[in-house]
Amino acid sequence: MKKKKWWTMGRRESLQGYIFIAPWVIGFLAFTLGPLAFSLYASFTDYNITSRMDFVGLQNYDQLFTGDDLFWTSLYNTLYFVIFSVPLTTIGAIFISMLMNQSLPGMRIFRTIFYLPAVLSGVGVYLLWMQLLDPGTGLVNTILSWFGINGPNWLFDPDWTKPSLIFMKLWSVGGSMLLYLASMQGISKNLYEAADIDGAGTWKKFLHITLPLITPVIFFDIITSTIGSFQIFQEAYVMSQNGSGGPASSMLFYNLYMWIKAFQSFDMGYAMAMSWILFVVVLIITIINLKLAPKWVHYEGDDK
């Protein structure tokens, strides 16, 4: 008797769970699943968007892996960008939010200023950065020269193009700052006060209280910025020479190459095959992250 009752409660709860997630399921079935399935199928065809869609089997995939040097170049460039930009922007964002989470005079203005670059978007900003990074008259090298540093050629030197973009990303790190701030606001002051009593310093408090309690957001930030960095596109499209990833293909990122294939060569089937390869790569990384999460992500609310 008792057991049966427990079961119905569990079921009722599951049902509520399904109701909660129902909007997403409906939206997924209505707007996302169809186009996804279509693009998966099209990746096995020579789809050109307008007039052709013949099944070609694994030909696109075969060509990508065995006969396309630019594919590997673009993958390398993208991995380079992901490996540097994700940790740097995460650390940068945590650092800035620590600074922002104090009560100092003018803090509301500081927060707004630090958030501002994240709001600025669009082509204008990238063009602006081309100006700032101009090796001769740009602001960045001008400032460097005040300290006697001879600045690099930024967007004209294949070795410096990707660092330039990472530098730009760091500038607009204020977006994720918001996340961390929201999370830090949730940490009880009592914990810090208790630590004060124990004589803990600022660094210790950060390490033992703040950091563990913001791990859910760090986890979120790492996963989403990894996914986002893999899809870097517009920066390279606007800032590289002729939008083709130059100089010397150093800004030919995965999505830029895919875009060129899809909308310049109209080889959409090929581009779709590329997108599914990227999907698998990112999915594997995400699943590894999800599996590793219990080891370091600390949810205050979960039962031990």
């Binding site: 052709r52 081309m130 100006q131 090796p135 740009g138 294949p158 293909s249 310049q264 080889d267």
Partner: protein, 439 residues
């Protein structure tokens, strides 16, 4: 919380009553396209939305609408670049506009891919191909049929600073005619104070790319008449080495001082005499006219590689095309004919100071009263130059070949890769691409 939710709901209901949810002021489907008085309505997409261009194209449309009583053209501005993504989506959804302005160099490819209507049936009835510069017309052909009618074009010229010429003891009415003279003149125009250049005589890659000089040197683009890639020819190796020698002459730091300013089309060193000569599109003149009105400058064709090798220049441009699936192709054709006829073309040329595809219009624009003396001088030079201007159409059998060549050109200039080796690699890569596509 509750009150806030109610407020939010009310807001949503109110907002969904706004225009964007009732389908705008006109019908959603191009196929419905009829006006109340029974005229056929056609949709015309361009990327000409600026204060300079928009009034000109709107006037041409208005004139067309008033010139007959069957067709009404409706103009929609869509930003450059994105306009073609949208066009493609609209074609895929079988709901395209009727006329779109598109890149001339990809016209053949779009013909092959079935994105644009074949215009051959219309051209059989009234052949207007003779209106246009031959190179422009040829770029629109796929398997002999045209898929877009040339509208405007451009061409590269050499701009030079006459005051600087005088200062350096050069004849301001005698621009350099060969690459050798170009080097000589540049040497004389160079002005140094200490180790830094106060004036750079000339650098080939300010304003144009290496590909323009390859074209200029060899008199042909990357493909020969049999559609075979010709990239590692002796002339091309020569040309690349020549460009490299300029880079070595001035040094990386000096060159980079101006490069991104020029690339971003801002503060140009040619305007204040920091740069003696510069290759650029003919329409660069309008910037000099508007932003450096006191500059005494001259224009000339691009110099020849060697005497007699030809002043070949490079150009691009745009066509008016009928996207596949347009619901009113016949009416669209009527409009395209008007758009590319002498009257509209001349109006566009004069009002925008832009090179047009129609020869007659181009020639008469050069002497138009509406242009100033200087305007006329540059325009005439540009119009003449069009006869020597080659395009670089994307071949349908190797559409993205430039992505294989450009990294190699960069390797020569940036990484000091020997020109022969780099071009050999590019040649091999493009050959492979052509072969693969042929399968």
């Amino acid at each position: 919380m509750k009150r806030f939710s109610l407020l939010a709901l009310a807001l949503l209901l109110f907002l969904t009553g706004c225009a964007g949810f009732t389908g705008g002021s006109e019908g959603t489907q191009a196929s419905e396209g009829k006006t109340e008085d029974g005229k056929v309505k056609i949709d015309f997409w361009t990327f000409w939305g600026s204060e300079i261009r928009r009034p000109v194209i709107d006037k041409i449309i208005e004139d067309f609408n008033n010139s007959q009583d069957e067709i009404v053209v409706e103009h929609t501005y869509i930003p450059f670049g994105d306009i073609w993504t949208k066009e493609l989506a609209a074609i895929a959804a079988n709901n395209p506009p009727d006329v779109v302005i598109n890149d001339i160099n990809a016209t053949a490819l779009r013909g092959q891919e079935g994105q644009a209507e074949n215009l051959a049936p219309y051209l059989e009835k009234d052949d207007i191909s003779g209106r246009f510069y031959e190179n422009l017309w040829d770029a629109t052909l796929y398997e002999g049929d045209s898929y877009g009618i040339p509208f405007n074009t451009d061409t590269r010229l050499l701009f030079y600073n006459k005051d600087a010429f005088k200062e350096a003891g050069l004849d301001p009415n005698k621009p350099p005619e060969t690459w050798e003279e170009l080097e000589e003149y540049a040497e004389k125009l160079d002005k140094k104070s200490g180790d830094t250049y106060e004036r750079i005589g000339f650098y080939p890659l300010y304003g144009v790319g290496s590909d323009v000089w390859l074209l200029n040197g060899s008199g042909m683009n990357y493909f020969n008449e049999d559609d075979e890639p010709v990239i590692n020819s002796e002339t091309n190796v020569d040309t690349m080495e020549w460009i490299k020698s300029w880079k070595d002459k001035y040094g990386e730091d000096t060159i980079n001082r101006y490069q991104s300013q020029i690339d971003s089309q801002q503060s140009n060193p040619f305007f204040n005499g920091s740069l003696g000569m510069m290759a650029n599109a003919a329409t660069f003149y309008t910037q000099i006219r508007d932003y450096a009105p006191d500059l005494d400058f001259g224009v000339a064709p691009l110099p020849e590689k060697t005497s007699g090798s030809g002043n070949t220049s490079w150009g691009g441009g745009f066509v008016a095309e009928i996207p596949k699936g347009s619901s009113h192709p016949d009416e669209a054709w009527e409009f395209i004919k008007y758009l590319t006829d002498k009257e509209a073309q001349e109006y566009w040329a004069v009002k925008n100071f832009d090179n047009v595809a129609n020869i007659e219009a181009s020639e008469s624009a050069a002497t138009s009263d509406e242009l100033s003396e200087k305007d006329q001088m540059v325009y005439e030079m540009a119009a003449q130059n069009l006869n020597d201007t080659l395009l670089t159409p994307m071949p349908a059998y190797a559409p993205d070949y430039v992505n294989l060549i450009n990294p190699q050109l960069d390797a020569i200039l940036i990484e000091n890769k020997p020109a022969q080796e780099a071009l050999d690699k590019a040649q091999q890569d493009v050959e492979e691409l052509v072969e693969k596509t042929a399968q």
